[in-house]
């Protein structure tokens, strides 16, 4: 039990409880990745083992098939409420990464997310993004307001002092809440090890390769690795010469690709 992980955990639980005290109309955005797995565990911690809010998954239909199978098994096993969002219209019109990766992300992830948030009247989403993932996430607030018209106002974010979050917003604005914003990739894996959390098997090496970050099958690459256990992943991360999202093709489209995606509502 390291003090550092305790600090992170306590802070995240505090954030989740603050959000829930302001609105019960909230969901956890769940990608089945390591970060949202940690987030789910923290939600359970916050609510004394209970899971009073639904999970929300944005299914682009291009996800790695094992991810969907794992999702459904976990939902069944834990009797969770899952909402799946999908941009059916865009898929019917033939949307895919070959139309342009960022166009595809915007249609199948951003638009699907915006639609489902509206459809369910959700006032807040808990998301497992972290500052150390990429530059534009590094500039995020713990509580980030998103209006439907204007998206992320990254040039004029509200002041967020101490643990006093701006949780009250006009009804046409929803909140992106980031309980693990200050965690690093290494923190996430050390926490998974300490809490003995079940993670997607795709993170472990298979034939000398593993996924370090999970996304759509079409746009996510594996890394070379011999890490077969959580502890081996932790050791690997301490010496690995590349960054976490190096295998995520949309990040590499151009220098500010993620910033542009996120401005219009990408997670």
């Amino acid at each position: 039990m390291t003090k550092h992980l305790n600090d992170l955990e306590n802070q995240s639980v505090y954030i989740i409880r603050e959000a829930y005290s302001a609105t019960r109309s909230m969901a956890v955005l769940w990608s089945m990745g390591k970060d949202s797995t940690v987030l789910m565990h923290l939600v359970r911690k916050a609510f004394m083992g209970h899971f009073p809010i639904p999970l929300l998954h944005i299914d682009t239909s291009y996800k790695i098939p094992e991810m969907i199978a794992w999702r459904d098994a976990l939902v069944r096993k834990n009797n969770l409420r899952l909402i799946v969002g999908q941009n059916h219209q865009s898929l019917a019109d033939g949307m895919g990464p070959e139309k342009g990766r960022l166009i595809c992300c915007s249609a199948l992830k951003t638009q699907a997310l915006i639609d489902i948030v509206k459809q369910h009247g959700l006032q807040a989403l808990l998301l497992g993004i972290r500052k150390d993932e990429e530059g534009s996430r590094g500039k995020e607030r713990v509580v980030s307001p998103r209006s439907t018209d204007e998206g992320w106002q990254y040039k004029n974010q509200p002041a967020e002092m101490w643990g006093y979050y701006n949780l009250h917003v006009p009804s046409d604005v929803h909140l992106r809440i980031h309980p693990i914003l200050h965690w690093t990739e290494l923190d996430v894996w050390e926490y998974i090890a300490r809490e003995n959390l079940e993670v997607m098997p795709l993170y472990f090496a298979n034939n000398g390769k593993r996924y370090r970050s999970l996304g759509c099958a079409t746009c996510t690459n594996t890394i070379r690795s011999r890490a077969h256990t959580v502890n081996e992943i932790i050791d690997e991360l301490k010496v690995i010469p590349t960054s976490e999202r190096a295998g995520r093709a949309q990040d590499l489209e151009h220098a500010y690709a993620m910033q542009h995606l996120r401005t219009t509502g990408y997670m």
Binding site: R44, M161, N166, T242
Partner: protein
Amino acid sequence: MLMLCNTCAQPDTCKSREKSMPVVVVVGHVDHGKSTLLGRLLADTGHLRQDKIDHIQKVCDSKGLGLEPAFFLDALEEEQAQGISIDTTSVNVDFHGHRMSLIDAPGHIDFLKNMASGASNAEYGLLVIDIQEGIRAQTRRHLQVLSILGINDVVVVVNKMDLVKYDQEAFDSLASQARELIVNENVNCVAVVPICAFSGENLVERSTNMSWYTGQPLLNLLGDLCSRTSAIDEQNAAPVRMVLQDVYKFDEHRYLAVRVVSGKIEPGTEVFFSPSGKMSTVASVKSFPTGALLEASRGASVGLELSEQLFVERGEVISLPDQLPEVDTRLSARIVWLYDAPFDPNSTYLVKLGSKQTNCRLELSQPSAGDQGAVSSALIKGDFADVIIRCAAPIAFDKTLRKSALNQLVICSQYETVAAGVIDNRRRQSAKCITIDKNIHAETGYVERTQKEARQEHRAAVIWLTGLSGSGKSCLARALEHRLYRDGCNVAVLDADNMRLGLCADLGFTPEQRAENVRRLACVAKLMLDNGFICIVAAISPYERDRELANAIVGSDDFSEVFVFCPLELCQQRDPKGLYKRVALGQIEMFTGFDLPYQPPQKPALRVDSSLLTVDQEVDQIIDILLGKGVIPSNQTT
């Protein structure tokens, strides 16, 4: 390329992660080199991965720049295009036992709220000063912000030493100015280090160009400073303070969701709730999946079960019965204004402290101080001020300067944080300190207001009559009382003149005493409301902010403000109490309409003009309001 700390590459022997991560915020004037310093520090401690360096190199190439260390932090397109930090970010450094989180804070005044947001997470400050520019506006302002945020230790770096050819004399002169500045803010200056951030001199390694500097390089200094954090961790002697975030009921268990701000709590402890004044005993301290815990200490987010069920809500502070926090509706605080729109003395704001939030009004208790100590009565972004916060409901807080205490607060407008501040421990918090005795519990009684309302067949309400002396408030109050009584209502009149004979006999007529008079009237009206009465208050209540406070105390659903209008000349003619004559003779001072203003209500529920209407007509109009609000049923009155 990656050169992580040798000790940390061996998790079995590394102890650094068993400690909390100390947090340092980097502040200073715009373009003095804060982001560059951090980018260079990351590079020199092996925290940048090769693909990230390649990426930034490509961006810099496309702009015709050499590798720009600041771009590792300033990731936004606009930041890189203009070479400026817009928002705050943080990075971690873990190098040879020196482990810390460093927050980059923007230096431009436009982004002060971003600077403060970042700095509010920090324990230590690192102030960057450009050797050629010296101490500038934001150098000063950032120090003041750190002081308000409770950051006591600051390291100074004098940057861009290469531009003065590493001149020791230039450094010494600026260093002594900086020390003086810091001491004046009651902050401890730990050290002053001459550096060149861009070339990494005196950051991790000593610079060969400044052999005259005999101190340690920056990272070592920060590392040593941060290692003091572990000593703070051990401080469990602080009084128990827990904030109640929420109450959950799961599977027949009722959990209080609390965060331990200071001290330590264990099962069996008797606890006191402020401001409600309730008491109970902790039956268990729980966390998932561990279950019952032996104790919870500073920082812990846990669930408490009580041995005796209480009705308590978010906003309470939990302490031991013999270490109570202060409780008051009036707070003295020092604040920094962060918002683009200036302070508006006529607005209602929201104050947040602990998990409590309540409506409030702000008064500047002395003029604000802006740049260069320029004094004014306005308050704009970047200004500091001592304020009185008048709250609609009591708040629990601490006056101590101790870190992680309940003395930090924010002021919000409808949707955004507009100011941040700290309880002023130098002042007495209130002329008459309202402290709720620990033996006083709020009794709710077995007969609810709704039951009383159902039996008497009308709802409770407060009708607040405001207007000049002689405008006809008392007369209208009595006539309205008579009509409602006739119709079978339970009705009471609180006339301010009568109140001043007893409950408010200690109060005079200064604006402050009038505010207190109105507060007491509102509190009594609220008690009557809770007992089912239609309560008619007749009081000059000349200030909008006092009436808004009354509205907040009573609750706006039950509060109807009636503006009894009458031209001043007619009031003077009527002069039922002979007061205007005495004013004319100079026998009375501070009289509303003469040497003190009357602020007419902006949006009263009703405005009656007593120079045009009969008293009966006025009563009819108020009855219509009560009918419209469903206070009295339509068949009751004629």
